[in-house]
């Protein structure tokens, strides 16, 4: 019977909530967030989250890149894998002068902006000295050799580029052209001669100027003043980067795993400085926000609610002791303690949640105690005693039902606080490093100087999410307030 | 006649506009209050007597408001005055109210004297000294020690508080004083003292009261004229002797016969079966018809008019509305 009464209480509560505009907005948002949190594996990529701390996983993403919709003319990343023969990849192999060669030509189109990098990953196996030759062909027909040109007699060993044993190796190798070119020696050896052969005037200090922009310079319109020109015009059209591996080992095998022409933008809300897809972090963060919010608020409100009602109803010494205990807990400031604990112990999210519950229940207890003090003076409570009700019966069937609406409102209103406290902790770097929360994302942004560097996509979305989720619960709490106040006064 | 009538109410109607519907709390009420007269307004819970009191004061709480009618105090029409005019000229100067229990009338954080002085200071611009003199006079008038002005409301007993409430109502010597259940919360001994006080004040100061209560015995104790209210309407209005000794309206007579008496022969108490009507959707015709033992077809269809059956005696009942039905005599 009590189940029936309880459930009808729920139903009544939700129907009341639906009647207010604020309640409808709050409830819809809540349902949206719950959906996103629960169905994250379907809409997002759980692998991204599992590998959040695995920096290797993210190395193929642009670092600190804004979202593509926010940047105007930009290069959209193109990525190909070796398994498929797409129009962007041409594979060739053969023999020449006693060397076996395997080459991969990666093609990409530039409209207004060039890629910020070209990354290629191969799986290679050889047992004799092996060399590599990389060229780039521009839409205007010009070729650039980016390594030693075997036709001119220079051979660049795989050791130089990949740091692997040039005589025998079997495994993965990876190259990022922009960083490869971000090297004085490489620039001097290959970029400068090529520029000079194309009538570009170069001063001695221009070598330094070319670092950091060597790769993009390769994509510029060739004018004599290319280095000093104020406006940068890029040459649009098809570019072809070819990787040739050659060796005297007839069993040389090279498989392209992935080739990427990396754009300066990524994803829906961009990436952080490790290249992590912030959208995944953002969506997954909903889960933790809701878990933390709900577990802390439901537990602390339930514990506090029952504690307060029991103390208030029994009165006397029991109540004195319970009240003073609650007041002691209430007056302890939570954040400093949590900071202290986080510094001493290894911060785990469940510790944080437990602490928030332990320090969160008193505020509800104090209020429900006052309510119980009032309700127990009502005539129908005395009437219950007159017919012989036990104390527990009175507590759970007479007093608690009157307090329940307040508890619901309380749960709704405590959620933002819990989320913020955890976010604050994570922001201070004291959160659980094994989970992805918005606070943590903000912490990493701050450490990387995101605000100074203008990486707004890293800072604004998590902050906005915290605000919106907090607001959702406050709206629900407000709606409850509208509904419950007259009843509370009863 | 109109020259001596201190209060004239004609066709006063007040309704509450709630989201559940329109509640016609007071409907077409008309009566006159003469100088040095006590009009008793009697009725049970929900009959509209409190709303009527507030309507006369212009204090109907929202979502209610006066819908129609005229209220003339000393010949001045008060319903069409603006809020500020009413506050400055009418409220408390021409018409004041004795509330039920000091809980409604006194602010616990100010002394009694301070609160009694307020009308003098704000309405009449007295100085504090002058106001204090007046306050002491008032307290003496209601049988209280003038030194009480220094006390706080909670320090006074129930009887003393009620006397102070009466003093407050008398402050500006209004023409009409409305007493809304002034003794309901009091013990019977204190009640008799307060009622005696009111009788004395009426005589000495030539006051006119509207005495509102559900207690018919108290009405008999005080009122010269009695109006019986039911479902927002006055169903019978007349001199006290007629109402109590030979009532015409079936409700009035049933009400009189349901009063347990302390003296005299013990007769079986009568009761009225059923409940007062829901004022949002009242029954058609006469509002009392579902509970009336004399109800006929006409009663269920049309509401009877307020008819003067004798001089100063009005009844709202088809039994006496000649022209539509044969009129009978008093119902015994």
């Amino acid at each position: 019977m009590s189940k029936r009464r309880g459930s009808s209480g729920f139903r009544r509560f939700f129907s009341d909530l639906r009647r207010t505009k604020v309640g409808i907005v709050g409830l819809s948002l809540l349902i949206l967030f719950l959906g996103l949190a629960i169905f994250f594996p379907l809409i997002g990529n759980m692998n991204d989250i599992k590998n959040w701390n695995n920096l290797q996983y993210w190395r193929d993403n642009p670092k600190a890149a804004p979202p593509c919709w926010a940047v105007g003319n930009t290069f959209k990343s193109i990525s190909v894998t070796g398994g498929e023969n797409t129009s962007n990849l041409i594979e060739r192999n053969g023999e020449l002068d006693g060397f076996k060669y395997i080459s991969y030509s990666f093609l990409y189109n530039v409209e207004t902006q060039p890629p910020i990098d070209v990354i290629a990953r191969f799986n290679i196996s050889y047992s004799k000295p092996t060399y590599v030759y990389i060229t780039m062909e521009r839409p205007d027909g010009k070729y650039i050799s980016l390594t030693g040109n075997p036709e001119s007699g220079e051979r660049t060993s795989v050791l130089d580029l990949f740091g692997v044993d040039p005589n025998s190796y079997s495994g993965d190798i990876r190259i990022q052209l922009a960083s490869y070119l971000n090297n004085m020696i490489t620039i001097r050896n290959y970029i400068v001669p090529w520029l000079q052969s194309n009538n570009v005037t170069l001063q001695p200090q221009d070598v330094f100027r070319l670092t950091n922009v060597a790769f993009s310079t390769l994509h510029q319109e060739l004018t004599p003043n290319i280095i000093n020109a104020k406006n940068v015009t890029y040459l649009s059209g098809k570019y072809n980067v070819t990787f040739v591996f050659y060796s005297s080992d007839k069993n040389l095998s090279v498989a392209l795993e992935k080739a990427i022409a990396l754009g300066g933008c990524y994803g829906i809300v961009g990436t952080d400085n490790m290249g992590r897809d912030l959208w995944m972090g953002l969506m997954y963060g909903i889960r933790w926000a809701l878990i933390i919010g709900f577990s802390v608020s439901i537990m602390s409100v339930l514990i506090g609610g029952i504690y307060g009602v029991v103390g208030g109803y029994f009165g006397g010494k029991t109540d004195e002791i319970m009240l003073r205990t609650a007041q002691v807990f209430y007056s302890i400031p939570v954040l400093p303690i949590l900071i202290l604990l986080a510094v001493i112990f290894r911060p785990s999210i469940w510790n944080v949640i437990s602490m928030l519950i332990i320090f969160g229940w008193p505020s509800t207890a104090l209020v429900t105690r006052s309510m119980a003090l009032q309700i127990k003076e009502e005539t129908y409570v005395e009437a219950a005693k007159a017919i012989g009700s036990s104390s527990s019966r009175i507590l759970f069937r007479y007093i608690l039902p009157q307090v329940l609406p307040y508890l619901f409102a309380s749960i709704a209103l405590s959620v933002p606080g819990a989320i913020l406290t955890e976010a604050s902790l994570s922001f201070l770097g004291l959160g659980d490093p094994s989970i992805v929360t918005w606070g943590r994302i903000l912490n990493e942004a701050e450490v990387a100087g995101a605000t100074i560097n203008g990486y707004w996509w890293w800072v604004l979305p998590p902050g906005l999410m915290i605000t919106i989720v907090g607001m959702t619960f406050i709206l629900i709490g407000q709606a409850l307030d509208l509904i419950l106040n007259p009843k509370l006064r009863r | 006649m109109a020259l001596t009538a201190v209060l004239e109410v004609e066709n006063l109607s007040t309704s509450y506009y709630t989201f559940r519907g329109m509640v016609k709390a007071v409907e077409k009420v008309s009566f006159k209050l003469e100088k040095e007269e006590i009009l008793g307004i009697a009725g049970e819970s929900g009959c509209g007597k409190s709303t009527l009191a507030w309507s006369l004061m212009g204090l109907v709480p929202p979502p209610g408001r006066v819908v129609e009618g005229s209220v003339k105090i000393d010949g001045i029409e008060v319903l069409n005055l603006s809020e500020s005019e009413r506050r400055k000229k009418i409220l408390w100067e021409k018409i004041s109210m004795i509330f039920q229990g000091a809980i409604n009338a006194f602010n616990p954080v100010y002394t009694v004297g301070y609160q009694l002085a307020e009308p003098f200071i704000y309405h009449k611009n007295y100085s504090k000294k002058e106001a204090l003199e007046k306050v002491k006079e008032l307290l003496k008038m209601v049988g209280l020690n003038p030194e009480i002005e220094k006390r706080y409301p909670h320090e006074l007993s129930g009887g003393m508080k009620q006397r102070a409430v009466i003093a407050m109502a008398l402050a500006l010597e209004p023409s009409v004083i409305i007493a809304d259940e002034p003794t309901t919360a009091l013990d019977v001994v204190i009640q008799s003292q307060i009622l005696n006080l009111m009788k004395k004040l009426k005589q000495d100061k030539k006051l006119s009261f509207i005495f509102i209560t559900h207690d018919m015995s108290v009405i008999a104790e005080m009122a010269d004229k009695v109006a019986i209210m039911y479902a927002g309407r006055i169903v019978e209005l007349g001199p006290s002797e007629i109402i109590f000794n030979r009532p015409y309206h079936p409700y009035t007579s049933a009400l009189i016969r349901s009063i347990p008496r302390l003296r005299g022969p013990i007769e079986k108490l009568q009761y009225i079966p059923g409940e007062p009507p829901n004022l949002i959707s009242p029954p058609p015709g006469c509002k009392f018809n579902p509970r009336c033992q004399y109800a006929e077809e006409l009663c269920k269809k049309e509401e009877p008019g307020f008819v003067e059956v004798e001089k100063g005696h009005f009844v709202r009942c088809w039994k006496y509305d000649s022209g539509k039905q044969s009129s009978g005599g008093a119902i015994k």
């Binding site: 219950a384 007159a386 012989g388 | 015995s217 108290v218 008999a220 002797e241 109590f244 349901s258």
Partner: protein
């Protein structure tokens, strides 16, 4: 067990038509002591709400406790259900056999063969007695749990006391209780909540709840004072019918003497925690003897319009003192007009000594020095012979 109680029990055993005998009931509430009180060694002060009263109630009788607010009548009623702590007194109650059995099973010392001292039972062990003594409250709006349906409200006593009934039988019992209080058809009412009913209907539910376990005594605490006048008579008639049909007794608490004249068999007028006059209702009201009763009767207005032309003469002075400061001697003497008139003769008695109970000619008891000539009641409990 002192001698008095033994005598009382003997008396009670013989009077089989008496269902309750209360002797020397005291309910004193301690006033909170401040630190300065404790330090100065001031004695603990009490609010003496009920200050030693004795009365009895017969089977199928309506016994009234009447008086103004603060006289202790409600506290007396509630003390029978131990809703207030009892400071002293004996309350012999002829409970049902099953009740006495249950009490014995719980380790309660049951004094007599068919009765028990309800004031000697530890409050936590009172539960079985609650089947036999029930209460109807004054406020129909506050005495029913607003969250319960009517069905739950009426089933609850049956469930708390573990009546061995099936769900159907419980429903039947509830229906019959609703029919007894004339809420027909009962099916219409069981699923409603209290706020959907009128005041009169709610009070009927309260009555149904009180009688559903077939108690022997029902304490009715001003059951009609918050109801409209036109339905009071119906409610009082209902109570009488139920009393006749079920053979129970009422302890009817009221401040309205006019009502008590219609419903009470015997009445006790209370003042400041003491019974000042007790006996046959009609005789007391028609011819009050105690000065307080005289004042009370004189103060009550009547539906007689010629009363407005006169001042009401009420022979009493001053106001009720607080129950924490009960006047010495006869507690009524500061307000007593008779004392004032005969102050020379009475100044050695009324302000100094608490008067004993005297028996007037018609057998009623009066607690007043003016009746010194009459037969005195030595021990309070001997008053039950009436």
């Amino acid at each position: 067990m002192n001698v008095d109680k033994k005598e009382l029990m003997e008396l009670f055993s013989n009077k089989r038509d008496i269902v309750l005998m209360v002797d020397g009931l005291k309910v004193w509430f301690p006033l909170k002591r401040g630190l300065s009180d404790i330090l100065k060694g001031r004695p603990q002060r009490f609010v003496r709400a009920v200050d030693s009263i004795s009365f009895f109630v017969r089977e199928k009788e309506t016994f009234c406790l009447a008086g103004e607010s603060g006289c202790g009548k409600t506290t007396t009623g509630k003390s029978l259900l131990r809703l207030v702590p009892v400071t002293d007194g004996v309350g012999l109650f002829r409970a049902r056999k099953e009740t006495l059995e249950d009490l014995k099973k719980n380790g309660v010392n049951v004094d007599g063969e068919d009765y028990v001292d309800i004031f000697a039972i530890h409050p936590k062990k009172m539960k079985p007695v609650r089947r036999d003594i029930q209460i109807i409250y004054q406020d129909p709006y506050g005495s029913l749990n607003p969250r319960y349906k009517i069905l739950d409200i009426l089933k609850e006593p049956l469930e708390i006391h573990k009546f061995q009934l099936t769900e159907e039988e419980k429903l039947e019992t509830v229906y019959r209780a609703l029919e007894t209080v004339k809420l027909k058809p009962p099916e219409d009412f069981v699923d409603r909540h209290p706020h959907q009913l009128s005041g009169g209907q709610r009070q009927r539910i309260a009555i149904a709840k009180a009688i559903i376990m077939n108690p022997k005594i029902v304490v009715a605490d001003e059951p009609v004072s918050m109801l409209d006048v036109s339905i009071r008579a119906e409610m009082l008639e209902l109570l009488q019918t139920i009393k006749r049909e079920r053979g129970l007794s009422y302890i009817f608490i009221t401040h309205d003497l006019a009502v008590s004249r219609y419903i009470c068999d015997r009445i006790a007028i209370m003042y400041l925690g003491r019974i000042v006059e007790m006996g046959d209702t009609r005789r007391i009201i028609e011819n009050p003897l105690h000065p307080y009763t005289k004042a009370l009767v004189a103060a009550i207005p009547e539906p007689n319009p010629s009363n407005r032309l006169r001042m009401r003469d009420v022979p009493i002075k001053g106001e009720i003192p607080s129950a924490a400061n009960i006047p010495p001697g006869c507690r009524f003497h500061p307000r007593c007009v008779e004392y004032e008139k005969n102050i020379e003769n009475l100044k050695s008695k009324c302000p100094l000594q608490d008067p004993p109970y005297y028996v007037a000619e018609d057998g009623r008891l009066v607690n007043c020095w003016l009746f010194e000539g009459n037969k005195k009641i030595e021990k309070a409990h001997a008053s039950f012979i009436m």
